[in-house]
C-alpha cells in the first residue's frame, strides 16, 4: 500500500501542535512526541521509497513518481506533492538524520525548559521534506520559511549555559540573512508568476520557454542567491560558521544534513526544471558547477586552517555542499552517480562526527583541536568510531564517497575538463590534510589521559551509522536501483554499477 505523501507533512505538524499541549502535563514526556512524529515520518518515507523502487517501469527515460494533491483540485489548480526518485531518497536520508539526532540527544539534561529542541528539529525536517517534494513554487517558499524559522530557533538554543552568547550571534546572523534570502526568492516568484501566470512548477516549466531572457536571467540570479544562502554556497555562507560554532551539535547536524541539503535540492529543482530551459546554452548549469567547485575548495581550505572543531566540521560541510552541487551540475550519468553517492556518504558520516564532537565538548567553550589529543587512550570506542567516520568522509574505501569521487573524476576526465579535475584534486588533498591532522592527534596514547565514557545511545547510533556506511561502501550495488532512477529523472542513461566496480 502506498501512503499518501501528504502524511510526510501532516504527521509532523500534528506532533508539533500536540507537543506544547503535552508539555503542559509532563515536560519529560513531551520530548518523546517529536521523536514519535519523526519515526512515523520515517516509516512513511520508507514505504514511499520501497514503492518507487518496486513499481518502476524499467524502460528508458521513464521513472515512477508518487503524487498527491491537496485542497481537492488537480494540479495546477491545487497544490500538489510529487515524490520523485531523488526526492524520495533525500527525504528518507534527511528523516534518518533527524532520527539520529533525536534518539542520540533524548537523554540530555540540557533542556529542562521544554521540548523545544526536539520540536524544532522535527519541524526543520518537515520543512526540508516539504521543500524537496512540493510541486508548487510558492509552497516551496512556505516550507523554506518553516525550515529557516525552526533553524533560527535551533541556532539560538544555547549549548551548555551559553555563557559567551555565541549562539545568539549565530542565530541573529542567520535570522537576518535567511530573511533576506527568502524575500529575494519571493521577488523571483513574483517575477515568474507575472511572466507565466502560474505557480505550479511543471506548468511553469512548460510556459517558461516563451518568456523574455532577461526576466529568466533575473529570476535565476535571485533564486541562486536565495537558495545559495540556504545551501551555504560560497560566497553566500558567511553566516554558517558562526551557527556551527555557537550552537549544539544537534543543530549543526541539522544544518549540515537537513537544511543545507534541502536548500541545495530546491535550488537544483528550480534551476534545472524551470530556469535552465529558458536560458540559452548551458549557462545556468555552468554557474552552478563553478560555484560548487569554488565552494568545495574554499570550504576545505577554511576547514584546513580552522582551529575550532565545530567550525572545522562546519567548513567541511560547506565543502561537501559545493562538491555535491558541482557533481549534480556536471550532469551525465557519472555526475549524478557521484552526487548521490557523495550525498549518502555525507549524510551517514557527518552526524557521527558531530555527535562524537558534541559528546567531547566542554561547557560552552570553543572546542580547540587539542580535545582530540590522545583520544585513543581515553576511549577506544570513541576513537575507532571517530576515525571510521572521518575516513569515510574523506573517501577511504570502503566508503560511498570513494565511489562518488571515482565517478566524479571519471565524469570530469571523460569530458576532458582538466581544470575541474585539477581543482577537485586540490580540494581532496586539502581534505586529506586536515583529516590527517586530526588523526595525528587522535592516535598516540597518552598515559595521563582521563578515561572518557561515550553515552550508550551515541555509541549504538554511531555504530549503526558507521556499519551502514561501510556496508554501502563495500557493496554499492545495493544502491543501484534507486540511483538509476535518479539518473533517469535527470534524463541520462544507466550505468550498471556492479559491472563497473
Amino acid at each position: 500500500m502506498t501512503p499518501d505523501p501528504v502524511l510526510l507533512i501532516v504527521i509532523p505538524l500534528l506532533a508539533a501542535f500536540l507537543t506544547p499541549l503535552v508539555a503542559l502535563g509532563s515536560k519529560k514526556f513531551a520530548r518523546y512526541v517529536p521523536l514519535i512524529g519523526v519515526l512515523a515520518m520515517g516509516v512513511v518515507s520508507l514505504l514511499l521509497l520501497k514503492d518507487l523502487i518496486e513499481v518502476q517501469p524499467r524502460t528508458y527515460g521513464a521513472y515512477n513518481t508518487i503524487e498527491s494533491t491537496t485542497g481537492g483540485f488537480q494540479p495546477p489548480f491545487g497544490i500538489s506533492l510529487i515524490v520523485t526518485p531523488l526526492g524520495g531518497l533525500i527525504t528518507f536520508g534527511m528523516i534518518m538524520v533527524a532520527l539520529y539526532v533525536l534518539v542520540t540527544s533524548i537523554q540530555k539534561k540540557e533542556d529542562d525548559k521544554g521540548p523545544w529542541f526536539e520540536m524544532m528539529a522535527m519541524m526543520a525536517t518537515a520543512g526540508a521534506v516539504g521543500m524537496v517534494i512540493t510541486g508548487d513554487l510558492f509552497n516551496m517558499f512556505v516550507f523554506l520559511e518553516i525550515t529557516s524559522i525552526s533553524g533560527t530557533i535551533l541556532a539560538a538554543l544555547p549549548r551548555g549555559n551559553g555563557e559567551k552568547g555565541l549562539n545568539w550571534k549565530g542565530a541573529a546572523g542567520y535570522a537576518v540573512i535567511s530573511a533576506l534570502a527568502s524575500f529575494l526568492i519571493l521577488a523571483a516568484i513574483a517575477l515568474l508568476y507575472g511572466a507565466t501566470s502560474t505557480l505550479n512548477i511543471a506548468q511553469m516549466a512548460e510556459r517558461v520557454g516563451s518568456i523574455d531572457t532577461f526576466v529568466a536571467g533575473t529570476a535565476l540570479l535571485l533564486m541562486i542567491i536565495g537558495f545559495g544562502i540556504e545551501a551555504e554556497i560560497f560566497p553566500l555562507n558567511g553566516w554558517a560558521p558562526e551557527v556551527y560554532r555557537g550552537s549544539r551539535w544537534g543543530t549543526s547536524t541539522i544544518f549540515s544534513g537537513i537544511i543545507g541539503k534541502a536548500g541545495l535540492i530546491a535550488m537544483l529543482k528550480v534551476v534545472t526544471v524551470i530556469l535552465a530551459p529558458a536560458l540559452e546554452g548551458n549557462i545556468a548549469m555552468d554557474i552552478l558547477l563553478w560555484g560548487g567547485v569554488i565552494t568545495f575548495i574554499v570550504g576545505e581550505a577554511a576547514a584546513f586552517t580552522s582551529k575550532d572543531l565545530y567550525r572545522l566540521w562546519g567548513f567541511s560541510s560547506i565543502g561537501m555542499f559545493g562538491l555535491i552541487l558541482a557533481a549534480f551540475s556536471l550532469g551525465g550519468e557519472n555526475g549524478i552517480y557521484a552526487a548521490v553517492l557523495i550525498m549518502i556518504g555525507h549524510l551517514i558520516s557527518k552526524p557521527v562526527l558531530f555527535s562524537l564532537t558534541g559528546a567531547m565538548r566542554h561547557k560552552d567553550r570553543d572546542l580547540p583541536l587539542s580535545v582530540l589529543d590522545g583520544l585513543m587512550g581515553k576511549s577506544r570506542v570513541t576513537a575507532f568510531l571517530f576515525i571510521g567516520a572521518a575516513l569515510m568522509l574523506l573517501g577511504m574505501p570502503p566508503s560511498p564517497i570513494f565511489w562518488g569521487k571515482y565517478f566524479l573524476f571519471s565524469g570530469a576526465g571523460g569530458e576532458s575538463n582538466w581544470l575541474l579535475v585539477g581543482l577537485l584534486i586540490v580540494g581532496t588533498l586539502l581534505e586529506a590534510g586536515y583529516i590527517g591532522k586530526l588523526l595525528w592527534r587522535v592516535l598516540p596514547k597518552k598515559e595521563e589521559a582521563k578515561a572518557f565514557k561515550l553515552p550508550i545511545t551515541t555509541t549504538v547510533m554511531a555504530l549503526i551509522a558507521v556499519a551502514l556506511g561501510v556496508l554501502l561502501g563495500a557493496v554499492p550495488g545495493l544502491l543501484q536501483d534507486i540511483i538509476d532512477l535518479v539518473v533517469l529523472e535527470f534524463g541520462g542513461a544507466i550505468i550498471i554499477l556492479a559491472g563497473v566496480i
Binding site: F138, A156, K169, S182, S197
Partner: protein
C-alpha cells in the same frame, strides 16, 4: 510601458533599494532588521502589483459589490497574488519577531548590537568581546 508602471515598479524598487542599502551599509542589528522589513514590504507590494489589472474591482462577489458570481471573469483582478501576499505578510512578521528576539539575546550577552565581528572572512576565530 505606461506611467503607472513607472510609478509603481519604480517606487517599489526604490524602496527595496533602500532596504538593500541598509543591509549592506549598517552593522547595527536593529537597523538591519528594519532594512529587512523594508525589503519585505517592497516585495509584498511587488506581488500585489503583479496581480493588478487596470480598471477591475476587488475579487468579491455579491452584496454591494455589483458583481455576481457568474460574471467574475473579466471584471475583477487576479485573486492569487492577494492570497500570496497574505501569507507573505504573516511570514514577514514571524521572521521579524524571531530576529528581534535573537537581537535581544545578543545584546544581553555581549552588551552590543553591532554585527561587526560577523565574519565573512575565513579565519576569524576571535572571541566576541564582553
Amino acid at each position: 510601458m505606461n506611467g503607472l508602471a513607472l510609478v509603481f515598479y519604480g517606487g517599489i524598487l526604490l524602496l527595496i533599494a533602500v532596504g538593500i542599502w541598509g543591509i549592506l551599509s549598517r552593522r547595527n542589528l536593529i537597523k538591519v532588521i528594519m532594512a529587512i522589513t523594508i525589503i519585505a514590504t517592497g516585495v509584498n507590494l511587488l506581488l500585489v502589483s503583479v496581480g493588478y489589472i487596470s480598471g477591475r474591482a476587488a475579487p468579491i462577489v455579491g452584496g454591494d459589490t455589483g458583481i455576481d458570481a457568474s460574471s467574475t471573469t473579466g471584471s475583477v483582478v487576479d485573486p492569487i497574488p492577494q492570497a500570496l501576499v497574505l501569507t507573505a505578510i504573516v511570514i514577514g512578521l514571524a521572521t521579524t519577531a524571531l530576529a528581534l528576539v535573537a537581537a535581544v539575546g545578543y545584546y544581553r550577552k555581549t552588551g552590543s548590537l553591532e554585527l561587526k565581528s560577523w565574519s565573512y572572512g575565513l579565519t576569524n576565530e576571535k572571541e566576541v568581546k564582553k
